[in-house]
Symmetry: C2
Subunit: 723 residues, 2 copies
């Protein structure tokens, strides 16, 4: 009975037994064994610490998305929005894979994914803390500390990647308390196997984005290919499917509120362990100020395209990105206000203080660290208006941003690789070159100038002591009296004397030395060079701050951990993590309860035949006829489509497989909920949920709608809707 | 435990045990005794049939609203929106009772309600069917039947009202199967006792209209006064409080999902027993066509006021009424489509057919009646475009509507009272005179002309055979060639030669004979006279249709009743009814469950300090401090504000007391829910709910916020928040 389960679940949440905010390192899972067993885990918790064992051996990263192997032949399941680019890339007006979906009837008919698509199979996690921090002590300056850590990490990565076919990274956990080296096999031949139609995989699109109840079939399949020797190799028709050590089974079991949900994936970045002072800075300065900039730039870009379709298209992706972050920050600010999250954070620091107050010596030490850290933050705040506006100059003008990239390439190329800024290390040159190419699709000089103009005028409002001197000097040099006149005169010259809008010119510049570049007398390159001085100054300051953070923050975090009796997950940093929780609804506002599961009835309610609510005809037919076979949920009495759980995620978790107590896939995570959007900062257990597509909906679409029977057979699943 | 109750409730609804679509006649309640006792009723079901006994003796009508006595001294509880007019009437800029609320500290300080306010205490219901239908048989023509019924009913009413101080009516039940005479004591001295601030009584206003979850404290108090002899009398300071035979007690008991809810009040009008063919006509013609007219007229009125505040104010109430009905019909059309209500209705007629098919003779008879009724409807449909547009001419031009009223007054006045159209009988003259006065506030000649123009042009599109000949003739007489030219020329003359915008002129006309009126040569009066011919034609046709309905419909309804084994409630007709059901939430769309109760947490969530979400400061203080005393709901852990039940209502039910199993007031009904808005036609038990304010919220506001301790003491309730 469904209602009985709602009851059970509310009880759980109320007592707080199962809500969990952790994105745990695999190695931490064994320590949480009792909790997990209590929630019903049937697997050995210790298994999660072994990345080559089941189930972690099946979990992979696509770089920005998470995924998992689901067959012995390298078949990979992830979100539709994670294979979206590959569908788009392979679509033509005659054969619109994006709109209609794609199913390769045989392996031979699987098609190459986006050229940049990669599958990363994490094979090893090693602690390199000693190596990284060796001989760095109280005597070491903060700047030096940051530089050394950076340099050592780069050396470890270089050494690690030397044999080839692997991607390595050194990541800091608990803000510099520990450093781990992660090694991943890098598979380059990735092929598109199957994705449902846009009206399934992207049902609801922007209108439903962040929203629950949700009815999106957000899933798709890739396959990893390797050379005949089993090693990663560039695309070749002779390549063979990769044989993973482990793969996951897709579940058809009943799913109910209260059921254990495990999630393994690569969450990007959270800020849950920062101080209340930093939350305040984000809430009171960073988000509102940057949102003001976003709104201004959005208005300009929309105005520019208001009567020009070509300009609209060129600006579309800039607008989409600005709007997306604007929406997220707006939601976060709303949640901050609604739940008084800052005060919550302050209260938790107060509790920490009280906790330590029993031991005067510890309390004094804790207070001293907090004070010193607070001074570091205060120092950084001194120039926050200037620093933020400086960075926005590059967002305002993609042409300036390109000039900066090219100028820095020339400067950094002259250095030893380990001395280079990470973004300009040799391993990243191909990425930078592709950025130069891709950016061409969003360069529109008139919009570029209009946006840049607004931000140049804004520099005039910077307070004394926070001036961008390079800009002040250039504007004064125009000889004009009034501010607008100066800016316009400067821009006239700037845009008349640059070729930064020309792709061939930029590609030619890509390999040039600084001297060659400057000899071109391109005004945008010259401006980028003029502005670098401040950039370096800010970067040095940030490096020193980083060094101080490396020194102080681990101690603050250790204090939290002590109070939490060791039960503390590090902030997300793009590395492999495991979260757990239960299937659970929530009350978004008084009088309204969001059920933990949605059903195909909602698809029929929302479907109006038009994008984004345009399910395929066959899906509608089958759904109306209630042809669900064994995929129907016995309690719901119909087909489940999505569910939410108390597990929590962030950008990068997309595509993560949600596992049940037996380690079977019960769904794929694909979104956070709107009410829980502030979870990157503070987790309010009442509201924070992850949105998943239910595995039985995936299988029903495969079986009854798209006839992906070949894949079902490959996964060892019975077919119930033969043609 | 709340969750457990949700479970229980869904179970109930699923099995259909307690959902009930009936607005039962009090006399029917004893027949439903077993059902009611099963739902927990502790009172004797037979008691409901006795209008002078408890609890029905306490239930009164305010004419358009329902209410109940709550003390031995004539104290009456109803909705805030039912005392709204009296608050407005007594407000001055210096003393804004509407905004701030009103509480009379003593009886002497109670103030007169609106002059038109009345309290009607139903004292008797008598069956007059025999008298009404005497000697009307198959030989009687349909027109004659309707005329006779009308005439006899008027005679009965005249005789009934002769002694004075009573209001009588003869109402048809089951579409003419039975006729009942209802006698009500008419109390004229009504005084305003107490109403909370607008930010309580009207919290959410239009934004929350029709909506659940709701947080409105929609309650207020009147008191009925009579002469010292205990008989109704006009206002006098010497009058004394009326002593009702019974009054109700306000409950402070816990309220839970699944609890029995009884509702006694005066629902206005429903069309649940009509045929599928009539539902189709409403869905396919009446609602969409009239909504098209509403949208057109709204656009014109809004355009007229777009740059003129005075015009805006004059048109405001017309706009509000148009929008209100537009919204309701839009919601109904949505629900028709969503729930496929027409097909549902057709299926139920099919079932009826099948039911009778077992007895061929009955089946043939039923089929014949259906066919004849269908022909009647078809006949009426022949001129439906013309008939509707004709009526809209008067809505389009309030000046024409006034001219029509005055012209018809003069024509009808010349007749015997019982020959007069009911609206023009002598007992309604004061009402008509007040209409002439009130209409002045919405007469704006330029808007009047603009709206009328659109509809005149529309008459040009009427098909042949459905022309409004009077209009065609007048337009042709302008001698102009083009349609627009004709209409404009006609309107030039019409508006130049009328004084219909002048109140004094209209009041002078009110008592004039037809000859006197026509001698004035007022163009609008002349137009009204020209148009009356078609009006009479339509009315005669409608009378014949009505006669046929009187003859046929009861037989169709009797068939339904047979199939339902006698368990059938008549359609609402403004008379006293009793409904019952249970407290129950619902699922408005997949994945969302609306809880059966809202709490004060929702008030705090919605309150933003601005109309319409502007709770009084004291309420916010008490709510934030969780000072709820014994009014808090033990399961919800906070103060309940509203609840929904499966009882169903319609316009006129507002203010009805919701009673628990012991006959105590657990709340006041004040709205239908958006998803259930089509319930006037077809009741979809999954969605149809009535919205109530919880009695404990009423008492908490009285006690803890407004200090209405005098009234609580009068009602015999303890005070928990002494000053």
């Amino acid at each position: 009975m469904r209602p009985a389960r709602i009851a059970l679940l509310l009880l759980f949440v109320a007592t707080g037994v199962v809500a969990d905010e952790g994105m745990w390192m695999p190695q931490q899972i064994p320590l949480l064994g009792d909790e997990l067993r209590e929630l019903g885990l049937q697997l050995d918790p210790d298994a999660f610490a072994d990345l080559t064992a089941f189930p972690m051996g099946a979990v992979v990263s696509l770089g920005g998305c998470s995924a998992a192997f689901v067959s012995a032949n390298g078949l990979i399941i992830t979100n539709h929005h994670c294979v979206f680019g590959s569908l788009q890339y392979n679509s033509t007006p005659e054969r619109d894979l994006l709109r209609d979906g794609f199913l390769a009837p045989t392996q031979a008919q699987e098609i190459p994914a986006l050229p940049t698509a990669r599958v990363y199979v994490t094979t090893k996690i090693e602690d390199v803390t000693d190596e990284i921090l060796d001989a760095l002590d109280e005597e070491t300056s903060d700047l030096e500390r940051a530089k050394q850590i950076d340099k050592r990490a780069k050396a470890i990565v270089r050494q690690c990647e030397a044999p080839g076919n692997v991607r390595c990274q050194v990541s800091s956990f608990f803000a510099g308390e520990r450093f781990l080296k992660l090694t991943a096999m890098k598979i380059e031949d990735v092929r598109l196997v199957y994705a449902p139609a846009l009206g399934v995989g992207n049902f609801g699109d922007e209108e439903d984005n962040w929203m629950w109840p949700r009815h999106t079939g957000d899933f798709g399949f890739y396959r990893a290919y390797v050379g005949q020797d089993g090693k990663p190799a560039p695309y070749s028709p002779d390549n063979v499917p990769f044989k993973p050590q482990h793969h996951l089974k897709i579940s058809t079991r009943d799913l109910d509120a209260g059921d254990l949900t495990l999630l393994a994936g690569f969450p990007g970045r959270t800020s849950r362990l920062v101080t209340a002072e930093e939350v305040r800075e984000a809430q009171e300065f960073v988000m509102p100020t940057s949102n003001r900039y976003r709104v201004a730039l959005l208005e300009i870009l929309e105005e520019q395209g208001s009567d020009n379709r070509e300009v609209q298209i060129l600006n579309a992706s800039r607008i989409a990105r600005l709007e997306n972050i604007l929406k997220k920050y707006t939601g976060q600010l709303e949640a901050f206000a609604r739940d008084d999250l800052l005060r919550e954070k302050e209260r938790s620091e107060k509790r920490l203080e009280e906790f330590f107050s029993r031991e005067p010596q510890q309390a004094a030490r804790y207070a001293a660290i907090r004070q010193e850290f607070s001074q570091v933050l205060a120092g950084k705040r001194m120039t926050r208006e200037r620093d933020m506006l400086y960075r926005w100059l590059y967002s305002a003008s993609p042409m300036l941003s390109q000039a900066n990239l090219l100028y820095r390439m020339s400067v950094e190329r002259a250095k030893e690789d380990e001395e280079r800024d990470e973004d300009y290390q040799e391993r990243n040159w191909p990425r930078n070159e592709s950025r130069v190419k891709r950016t061409q699709r969003m360069i529109e000089p008139t919009s570029d100038r209009a946006g840049f103009r607004w931000f140049l005028l804004e520099t005039g409002h910077l307070p004394a002591g926070q001036r961008i001197e390079a800009i002040d000097k250039l504007l004064t040099a125009t000889g004009r009296e009034d501010v607008e006149g100066r800016v316009d005169a400067f821009l006239d010259r700037l845009y008349a004397n640059t070729r930064m809008d020309d792709l061939d010119t930029r590609l030619a510049m890509f390999d040039e030395s600084t001297d060659q570049l400057l000899a071109r007398r391109d005004a945008m390159i010259e401006l980028a060079a003029e502005l670098r001085g401040l950039g370096e100054e800010i970067e040095d300051r940030d490096r020193a701050v980083k060094g101080a953070e490396y020194r102080l923050r681990p101690q603050l975090i250790a204090a939290m951990r002590t109070m939490k009796e060791g039960r503390l997950a590090p902030d997300a940093n793009g590395t492999l993590r495991v979260g757990f929780g239960v299937v659970a609804g929530y009350e978004p506002r008084d009088g309204v309860f969001y059920q933990p599961q949605t059903t195909v009835r909602g698809v029929l309610q929302k479907d109006n035949g038009e994008r984004p609510f345009d399910s395929p005809k066959k899906l509608l037919q089958r759904a109306k006829a209630q042809e669900f076979g064994p995929y129907a949920d016995p309690d719901l009495g119909t087909l489940a489509v999505g569910f939410i759980s108390t597990v929590n995620v962030t950008n990068g978790s997309s595509g993560s497989s949600a596992l049940n107590a037996w380690g079977e896939i019960i769904g794929l995570a694909f979104d956070m909920n709107w009410e829980g959007v502030a979870a990157d900062w503070v987790v309010n257990e009442r509201y924070v949920r992850t949105i998943h597509v239910d595995s039985r909906y995936i299988l029903w679409v495969m079986d009854a709608v798209d006839g992906a029977h070949n894949l079902m057979q490959e996964m060892g699943l019975p077919v119930h809707f033969p043609r």
